[in-house]
Symmetry: C2
Subunit: 210 residues, 2 copies
C-alpha cells in the first residue's frame, strides 16, 4: 500500500464502486481482479492498478481477501474517521438527506440543519435540530464543523456558501443547481444531478437513434 502516492481523480471515483461490489460478496472469501473487472465492466489491469495504491496487495492464484480489501478501501477513503456536517436548506431534499442514515457508512454524519424559515426552526428531523441561519457561524465554530451541505434553491446558493465560508467551513457539498464561488482553500463538490441526467439522457438518445 503506497498511500503517499497521489491517486488520480478517475481512480478515486472508481474506488467506491469496488467497495460497493465487495459488499455483495462473502467477506470471508477471496476475489480476483478479473472478477471485479468483469462485474463492473472495467479492464482487469486497471482494477489491479487502482487497488495497488490502496491495498496491501493480493495473492497470485487466490486474489484479494474480500474483508481486508474492504477495510483498506474504507480506511483510504476516510470512511472510518467520521466527520460532522451541517445541512443548509431544510426543504424536501435537505430533510431527506438529514434523515438518511447511510452517510455514516461513508464517514459523514449530519449533526444539524439550518433554514431561514422560522416555521422550521426548532423542528427535529431524525433527532437533528433545525436552527436559524443566524446561529450558523457560532454553531460551526463551537462544534468544529468542516463540512457544509447546501440544499437550498439555486438563487440562495452563493449567499449560503459565503456564510459557510465565513463560518470556517473547509468543504462544501453543493446540491443546488448553481455554480458557487469560494476562496482558495475551500473545496466545492457539486452533486450535480444535471450531470448524471445529461449522461443518461445522451446515452439513451444515442441508443434509440441507432
Amino acid at each position: 500500500m503506497n498511500s503517499n502516492q497521489p491517486v488520480s481523480r478517475n481512480t478515486l471515483q472508481r474506488l467506491p464502486r469496488y467497495l460497493n461490489y465487495l459488499k455483495s460478496l462473502d467477506p470471508c472469501g477471496n476475489v480476483s481482479s478479473t472478477e471485479i473487472a468483469k462485474a463492473l465492466g472495467l479492464n482487469d489491469v486497471q482494477v489491479r492498478k487502482d487497488l495497488s495504491s490502496v491495498s496491501s496487495g493480493g495473492r497470485p492464484k487466490v486474489g484479494y481477501n474480500v474483508s481486508s480489501l474492504m477495510s483498506d478501501l474504507k480506511e483510504f477513503l476516510g470512511y472510518n474517521a467520521i466527520k460532522g456536517a451541517i445541512i443548509v436548506g431544510a426543504g424536501n431534499l435537505g430533510r431527506a438527506l438529514m434523515s438518511y442514515r447511510g452517510f455514516t457508512e461513508y464517514g459523514l454524519s449530519i449533526i444539524a440543519g439550518f433554514d431561514s424559515n422560522p416555521a422550521l426552526v426548532g423542528c427535529r428531523i431524525d433527532g437533528k435540530e433545525i436552527h436559524s441561519l443566524d446561529e450558523l457561524g457560532d454553531y460551526c465554530r463551537e462544534n468544529g464543523v468542516e463540512i457544509g451541505v447546501i440544499t437550498t434553491p439555486a438563487a440562495y446558493a452563493q449567499e449560503v456558501s459565503d456564510l459557510l465560508v465565513s463560518a470556517g467551513i473547509k468543504a462544501i457539498w453543493n446540491f443546488a443547481p448553481a455554480h458557487i464561488y469560494v476562496p482558495d482553500g475551500v473545496l466545492v463538490q457539486n452533486e450535480n444531478m444535471a450531470c448524471s441526467l445529461a449522461l443518461l439522457s445522451k446515452h439513451l438518445n444515442e441508443m434509440l437513434g441507432e
Copy 2:
C-alpha cells in the same frame, strides 16, 4: 455545430456546468470562452473545444451569445424533449425526488411512483400517484416509460432492476448504494453519492494534512 461527432464523457459532464454558469448571466449579452473558463476553473481552449461540438459558434472579439448558447446546450443535452420516468421506492429520498420539480429543466418528468408498502399505495406526492409494484409492468408498457429511478434500499436494488428491465425500461438511474446487473442495451447511471463523498473526503484530508 457538428452534433454527429461523438462527444467524450468528460466533455459531456462539463456541458451542464456551462449551462449552469450561463444561467447567472444576462441572456441578452455575450460571454467569451475565457470568461467561462476562468469562472469554472478550466482551460479556455477546452471550453471552446467543448462548445464547438455543441454550438453554432461564437464571434471573434465578441464571444458567444448567451441565450443562443444556452438553447444549443439544452438542445444537445436533450432537455427540450421531456421524457417520462417512474420512481421505485417511495422512502424519504424517493418522495423528495417525486416532489422536486426541477427535473423538467433537465428533460425529465417523474410521472408516478411505485412501492411495495401497501400503506403508501394510493398516496399522491405532488399529484403523482404511488402504485403497487404489481402494476409496474403494465404501467410502463401502457405509458411507454423508458426511464426508471431506483430509490430503494440497496438490498432490493437488483430485484427492482430486474423488474424494470422486464417492463421494457431502457435506462435506470440508480440512487441505491448497490451495484446492479442489467442486460446489454440497458443503461445504468449510478448517482453515486459515495463517489462524491469520496472525492470530498479525500480532498479534505489532503488539504488538512499539508
